[in-house]
Symmetry: C2
Subunit: 747 residues, 2 copies
């Protein structure tokens, strides 16, 4: 398998009843060995197996729970104290002995041998209530969980799936216990099983009171599978029933995510903690309702066989899919193997996977770079290596667009004039070559071409190309474009100084210095560019930035090919401003955690020819362009954003005489009335790039640029005038990168 593969691994869920009903055959030493071999033969990569049996459940309940009949006679208040009152002293003595020295009897566990545990993911006893209402039950459940994890470790099992949280009031206790387990079992990966929403909203039953559930399962003889794990035909009914109530359903999906957010926050984003998303509940048809999970560490997906009427296309990246109930005969025609085969079929036919396999696509080019943090280039301060130039010269789109822009400009230039073109920052010469092609195609006489380069090493390459290819068609000038002497003023200034965020590689400052030799009515290619920002949630990127050992790693922007991220709000429509600072407002429709900002740019080269990495426009403007991944501005502390909140981002581009840097800051608000934002462009087409009006500039007092020069502008969503008094401030981040202390760009 390559370092990154979009393929899912498929697991089979072996239930306790399958384990206990099967008699071992002659060909296998134990029942688990036989079931595991069967699963492999059906195409599953691994199996999920409960570790403990009904015997353990019975003993634990006798030791640690009050007999249910004594509870039913009591009111709410007295129940809290009933445990001591009604407990059998001998049960309490046994419990104390167990707490002191927790261990299993042979009959209480399903497997005992190393070979039975190979490729096994342990399912922790589903009846353990880590978030029970009663303190005492929680404490005992914690001991039992630690005991089970210790046993799994003993068997060399590396991953365990915990029972889902059930009680909103004690999720913080549940999470605290998970954190304690991550600490005491340092090689174990834990996954929290979480239904996409609380299925109780579908069923006309009383709310699951933890005390009643903990007490009732002993008295009832029916298996007490937690509600969240239910699969089978009952769901088909529910699926129909729920279609009328999709609005509250969204709130419940938000609530499930909120549960996860609290747990992983309390566990401090531990990379050994993942999510086992349970898709057993019937899913809504509205696309995007599950998109927030794309930003999370979803390592497992529970799919009951009954959900195979659904289209599984939208599942998150590289998950492990656990199929339950495959042997229940629900889809007799295809047989059991059909499930895993169908998952693989869906993968093969997904557009993402297909694009990744096709040479020339961004998806193919970017393999291995997904969610990988790179420090942005500093081509002004550092002299690039030849290999770096080579990588960027491979872009099949960018230089073609430049050639078209130069060609178009030449065609539109008044016929009578002689034309002077200058490539400022020629590198190894790709724009020189494209300029020559454009000149040739335009059939204009009297064109003179200069090329300026300050990297002495690249200048050797340029000299070589001049001697071998270009000869006297090009005049080479060595030096910094801000200082170099040029024999005559130029008509067309061509440059490629753009960074992922537009001005983050000092294009404005370099071009300021080149203005000396541009004629008053000369033109610049690119003629303008705009930076775009969107708030972003990605626990993966947050963890990656945090893992970098440098002290201020969370205060510096990174170049990243985004994969496991969720944009919390649509990008605001473009609105050029003559500022190097911006305050942006975003409506946050669904609760999320702000981990950073995604930075993009869009440039107009000339006329209607442009370059764009804006996610909603790049395919229209410059499809398959490879040169830029977006910029990621991280936040040190994740900021929680509730549904329907407003996020306000301030970003400043600052400078002193030696360097340039960005600072950024966020505040969150809740409104008392529904927000009145202009609709952000979800699926609607944005105005064509022609409409992006170039900034007719008011010079900034600090760094000026001149009309018709590329200008760095931050896009601002002009929210309608509204009374900010109606907004309630609910949180903010610290100011990031103050004074450029952790990241700056050298002039």
């Amino acid at each position: 398998m390559s370092t990154w593969s979009p393929s899912a691994s498929v697991s089979s869920f072996i239930t306790l009843s399958t384990l206990s009903s099967r008699r071992s055959s002659a060909s296998f030493e134990t029942v688990p060995l036989e079931l595991i071999a069967e699963a492999h033969s059906k195409g599953y990569h691994s199996v999920c197996l409960p570790l403990t049996t009904e015997d353990w459940r019975k003993r634990w309940a006798e030791m640690c729970l009050v007999p249910s009949d004594s509870i039913q006679k009591r009111g709410r208040e007295s129940r809290r104290e009933s445990k001591l009152v009604s407990r059998d002293p001998s049960a309490e003595r046994k419990a104390e002995a167990w707490r002191e020295n927790p261990c299993f009897e042979r009959e209480e566990v399903t497997i005992t041998r190393l070979d039975e545990a190979e490729h096994v993911t342990a399912i922790i006893s589903e009846w353990l209530e880590l978030d029970a209402e009663e303190d005492g039950i929680r404490y005992d459940a914690e001991i039992a969980l630690q005991q089970e994890l210790a046993y799994a470790s003993y068997l060399n099992i590396h991953t365990a799936i915990l029972p889902p949280p059930r009680n909103r009031d004690h999720i913080s206790s549940y999470a605290r216990i998970v954190r304690a387990c991550l600490s005491s079992a340092p090689y174990m990966n834990l996954a929290i099983r979480l239904p996409v929403y609380d299925t109780s909203i579908l069923e006309p039953v009383a709310p699951l009171s933890p005390s009643s559930s903990s007490s009732s399962f002993r008295s009832s003889s029916a298996p007490s599978t937690p509600r969240l794990v239910v699969s089978g035909s009952a769901d088909s009914l529910n699926r129909n029933r729920f279609s009328t109530t999709s609005a509250p359903l969204e709130a419940h999906i938000d609530a499930a995510w909120e549960t996860w957010d609290l747990i992983r926050s309390i566990c401090d984003y531990n990379i050994r903690l993942a999510l086992a998303l349970d898709l057993t509940p019937p899913l809504p048809n509205s696309p995007g309702v599950l998109s927030k999970w794309a930003a999370e560490a979803v390592r497992y997906i529970f799919l009951p066989s009954s959900t195979f009427i659904a289209n599984a296309k939208g599942y998150p990246h590289r998950p492990n899919i656990i199929i339950s109930g495959a042997s229940s005969g629900l889809h007799k025609r295809g047989g059991e193997d059909a499930y895993s085969q169908y998952v693989k079929h869906l993968e093969r036919t997904s557009s993402v996977v297909q694009a990744a396999e096709k040479v020339g696509t961004v998806e193919n080019f970017a393999q291995g770079y997904q969610d990988y943090l790179q420090a942005p280039l500093q081509p002004l301060m550092d002299n690039l290596q030849s290999i770096t130039y080579q990588t960027f010269e491979q872009d099949p789109v960018k230089y073609q667009s430049y050639e078209e822009a130069i060609h178009k400009a030449l065609l539109e230039w008044p016929k009578q004039d002689k034309i002077i073109i200058c490539v400022a920052g020629a590198g190894r010469g790709p724009l020189v070559a494209r300029s020559l092609c454009a000149i040739e195609r335009s059939k204009r006489g009297h064109v003179c071409l200069y090329a300026i380069e300050k990297n002495p090493n690249a200048f050797v390459t340029l000299q070589n190309r001049q001697r071998t290819e270009w000869h006297d068609r090009v005049h080479l000038l060595f030096g910094d474009m801000r200082l170099v002497e040029i024999p005559e003023k130029v008509d067309i200034l061509v440059s490629e100084l753009l960074g992922s965020f537009g001005d983050n590689e000092l294009s404005p400052e370099c071009l300021d210095g080149a203005m000396r030799f541009l004629k008053p009515h000369g033109i610049s290619i690119p003629s303008s560019y705009t930076a775009h920002l969107a708030p972003l949630s990605s626990s993966k990127l947050y963890n990656e930035a945090r893992a970098i050992k440098a002290e201020k790693s969370l205060e510096t922007p990174y170049v990243v090919m985004f994969q496991a991220v969720n944009l919390l709000s649509g990008l605001p429509p473009t609105n050029s401003h003559n500022t190097r600072s911006a305050k942006l407002r975003f409506h946050i429709p669904h609760a999320g955690v702000l981990h950073g900002l995604a930075g993009y740019f869009e440039a107009i080269l000339y006329g209607n020819i442009g370059l764009s990495i804006h996610p909603q426009r790049k395919d229209q403007v410059s499809k398959d362009m490879l040169s830029w991944f977006p910029l990621f501005f991280p936040f040190k502390e994740p900021l929680y954003l509730p549904s329907n909140s407003e996020l306000q981002i301030s970003i400043w581009r600052l400078t002193n005489s030696r360097q340039v840097w960005y600072e950024w800051h966020a505040e969150s608000f809740l409104g008392s009335s529904p927000p009145t934002f202009p609709a952000t462009s979800g699926g609607q087409p944005l105005p064509p790039i022609l409409m992006a009006s170039p900034t007719i500039g008011v010079p900034s007092p600090l760094i000026d640029a001149v009309d018709l020069l590329p200008r760095s502008t931050l896009s601002v969503q002009d929210a309608p005038e509204r009374s900010t008094a109606r907004l309630v401030k609910i949180g903010h981040t610290s100011l990031h990168n103050p004074g450029g202390r952790s990241s700056w760009i050298g002039l």
Copy 2:
């Protein structure tokens, strides 16, 4: 002056018009020297002085602002670009030269000599708009501010007061500039002038649009004192007008605090940043509306002479009071000196100052300890020093209460029986002595007294006292109460193992071990105790805890005598529970920042005799008891809490076989409907201590105690049952001290 003094320093505000209208007399070399000498002779400790003159303002406006007439002709949209369009090219050239090399002309500053700057606080040009709507004005204002601060530094001035923020939309820019100045002027203290609310709500004028103010001040000839600095008779009118609108006023006072909170957060709680609270606006009569400022770094208070009809009793700790308009002749009878004299009179007569001067009060005892962080004692793990015992033995109240409790218990004991008393943890013997007094007073025969102590050094002192004072009235036993052999079972067990938070010095664990030798119907003194928690805001404590160099200094509790703190919510009424964990809900009436939790305890010794450090009950239960300061549980990241929000605190007392520790966590919520909390006891008397029902114990599964033993319980505010679905989660902290990684108590 002692290390801590509650006294305020009083400053005189010298205005620009006073400076410019006065002619220098023969006896002083310059006008400023004369005015400063006059202020000192009138009893002021220092003066506040504007640094720049009207000349500077005119030059700056000519360079950096658009002529106001050209603006008035334009609409809102075009104004943004008007600066360039209408700017005089020669003005722009001058501005560029100034930006490159910012400096003053002689006539543009008020003072030039070191002796003129002694004891002077610089008032930065009040017309500087650091939060102007236009980027360009903000940038130029930042340069001008840096220039002014550099000049103040040159004159050895250590503090400057900045003009107030005026534009909510650009407070983050204002704050970013302040942070940049704190960084570039590393020895300068900055104070933000902030009116307690925006006075524009009192006046029928158009809202202060920053652009209009910046453009208008040039054209108007009237002095453009910012609205926030207004003093004089106009206020008397406003004072009457506003009494009808006190509810919106509270919202405005919250908004002012929110402004401050954002600025100091963006400045990362820099200790050189303080607040100059402007009390010029008429103040509401409702007490408590200003209490939130008690938790803030208020270093200056602006008092116009017109406010001297108000009672200044409630001002924050140790501020510097700036009196403006003292020479305006508003109160002719008293003359100018009367103002500073009256401030001093108010101080002398305040109950806080009087208590601090009286020996035997907590206020007197605690001098020097206010807001000072101390690590809690670990008397079980560490053997205390004699000096520590001596300090605690000085408590005039605690041991008296113990004697009363023992005496009462003896009186109520059945007449016929012989009584065995045991002091567990006798230390240097104070409880032994008190027990002997109580026995004598009770005139009971047949009383036998044991004293157990595990500190070998203190045991020497005990032996000495036995030989010299007690003789055979006491039987000494050396050893840990959990293990020591005692010849007979006891009737009354006396101990003093309580910490500030009740169980934080391992009283439950020690007494668990002492249960062996208590008779089945024996009693314990204390008979119960309860821990109380309140959310707390204190930037000072937050900064103190942050300043401690130890790595996890923000995850360990401290013992603190609270001073500059604001309790964000009332303490919940007592409600005993048999848990070692609690989830508490608090209603937050006014917006604030959660920096930590305040921990208190209350104990019943016997009958109606108790000990309490609960702030609302300590004076009723055990006035002037000195032994315990509260406990402070810090939070690593401050959590912003909006007005009318709900705060949920989880706290766990956890243990393993070697240690005990607390973990804590907070979540914040906003409700869509007004909360329905039970009224917390603001001024109302709480139930007498007799009502605090002793916990009749359900043993915890981890560490048990037995009926009638002191039990550690966390108080829980039983919020009425309500649908949590109506609450919107808006934020949370991380889990503090997980696994006891940074603070634990050794067993």
